[in-house]
């Protein structure tokens, strides 16, 4: 018996059909089947946040959703957000502020930070820390990441760096 299921979804604007095993989670599907390896897999049980992606416009844990559930959905990954330029200022700011070392958490940090600034463009440092608290970074100690996101929040809302 063929246990695979046919799914059709849109990934970064491209319509894609594949047969998947029901147990394959969405992050693995993106990495293994579509070779979109910007979505990282850390803990695979919903704790570390490294697999954060967007499904139908909302951020989700890619490891806590099965690919088969994304049938008909619109999925966006860091590759798509990079190509569209949506996170370009965040990426630049992460580099400038040294907000990454090994880079493993970075794609998901960028997607989560983008979501925060969409919901709350005037986010304070405390709010940035709170919103990113589900994304683990084992290198930076978070300070530089908060700096980078705060810098972009200020720039996007026309506030000068250092002013509040």
């Amino acid at each position: 018996m063929d246990a695979t299921v046919e799914i059709t979804l849109t990934v970064n604007g491209e319509r894609i059909s594949r047969r998947v095993e029901p147990r394959q989670h969405l992050a693995d599907f993106l990495r293994v089947e579509l070779e979109l390896t910007g979505t990282h897999v850390g803990c695979e049980h919903g704790v570390c946040g490294a697999c954060t992606i967007r499904v139908d416009g909302q951020i989700v844990r890619g490891c806590l959703m099965f690919a088969v559930q994304a049938d008909g959905a619109r999925v966006e990954t860091i590759e798509g957000l990079t190509d569209s330029g949506e996170v370009a200022d965040l990426q630049k700011s992460f580099v400038e502020r040294n907000a990454l070392q090994c880079g493993y958490c970075t794609p998901a940090m960028l997607i989560t930070a983008a979501e925060l600034l969409k919901r709350n463009p005037h986010a304070t440092r405390a709010q940035i820390r709170d919103f990113l608290s589900g994304n683990y970074c084992r290198c930076t100690g978070y300070h530089a990441i908060v700096d980078a996101v705060e810098t972009v929040a200020r720039a996007r809302t026309g506030r000068r760096d250092g002013a509040s």
């Binding site: 954060t52 909302q58 608290s133």
Partner: protein
């Protein structure tokens, strides 16, 4: 960290769900938001032969309010409840619980019905349902029935749900005028499961409390109503003396087991701290 193989069904009506449950029995698991179930599959703590995905069954999501009651559909996502004006106005305890559940990327998927059915003893929503005396609406092929939340939770991850049944909604009495509620917890990190949590609901007149319901979570196998502590505080002004007596009464109400986070004694201490802090905050203007 890959789940064992399973078959997948995506029913488009409750009737189809009942058919699938009838055919597969205990071998099947219902998939709601998946934010607790999928980790248990990844750890292979659970190895169902079939996952029945409820995400495309119509009529299970949404918030409706009327005549003193707020009904939340089982498949309503945490993020919808979190941002609902209706919930903020009529169920402030539930509104306070939301930001404490996991993280934003969890709350976009997680559902209230899933949380109640999973019955994690450290989860916020089961305690809210007990503290607010909610009714769990359960459906099966035979029809619907309602169970009071305090009778729904049976033990560690155990509920009153029988074979062929699923939760379709939760009905909360809207918070009456003159009442206040608080959802507070102590956790190592934001978004972690609570070491100890408290869902507190009471009538307040100035700093005097009555008709209290204090549901603790993370201190046993299911939400625990602290009946003795509530009795100590009935009709009392919130004072150091009253809080000390209530804290002492918690000895009779709670018997937290030791766990990875600390001893039962530590948890009891934290429960006392949380009780005092929460009730003091509750009567402040």
């Amino acid at each position: 960290m890959k789940p064992a193989p399973f078959a997948y069904a995506r029913p488009s009506s409750l009737d189809d769900v009942f058919d699938l449950l009838g055919r597969t029995g205990e071998e099947a698991k219902l998939l709601a938001g998946g934010q607790s179930l999928v980790p248990t599959l990844a750890f292979r703590l659970s190895t169902p032969s079939l996952l029945i995905d409820l995400n495309r069954v119509p009529g299970l999501a949404g918030i409706t309010a009327d005549a003193g009651m707020v009904r939340i559909g089982a498949m309503t996502r945490h993020c919808e409840i979190e941002h609902s004006i209706e919930i903020a106005a009529k169920l402030p305890m539930v509104a306070q619980a939301m930001p404490q559940i996991g993280h934003p990327a969890i709350r976009t998927r997680g559902t209230i019905g899933g949380s109640l059915a999973f019955a994690d003893p450290a989860a916020e929503l089961p305690a809210c349902a007990v503290a607010l005396d909610a009714q769990i609406v359960i459906a099966s092929r035979q029809g619907a029935r309602r169970v009071r939340a305090r009778n729904f939770f049976k033990g560690l991850y155990e509920t009153d749900l029988g074979a062929g049944e699923l939760i379709t909604a939760v009905e909360f009495p809207a918070q009456p005028p003159g009442y206040r509620s608080r959802l507070a917890e102590l956790a190592r990190r934001h978004g972690d499961y609570a070491l100890v949590g408290l869902a507190a609901h009471a009538k307040t007149e100035g700093d005097r409390l009555s008709d209290l319901r204090l549901a603790f979570f993370g201190v046993g196998s299911k939400p625990v109503l602290a009946v003795q502590a509530a009795r100590e505080l009935e009709g009392q002004h919130v004072s150091a003396t009253a809080l000390a007596l209530a804290a002492e009464a918690l000895d009779d109400d709670l018997d937290p087991p030791d766990d990875l986070n600390g001893s039962g004694r530590t948890k009891l201490h934290l429960a006392r701290v949380l009780l005092s802090r929460t009730l003091t905050g509750m009567v402040e203007a």
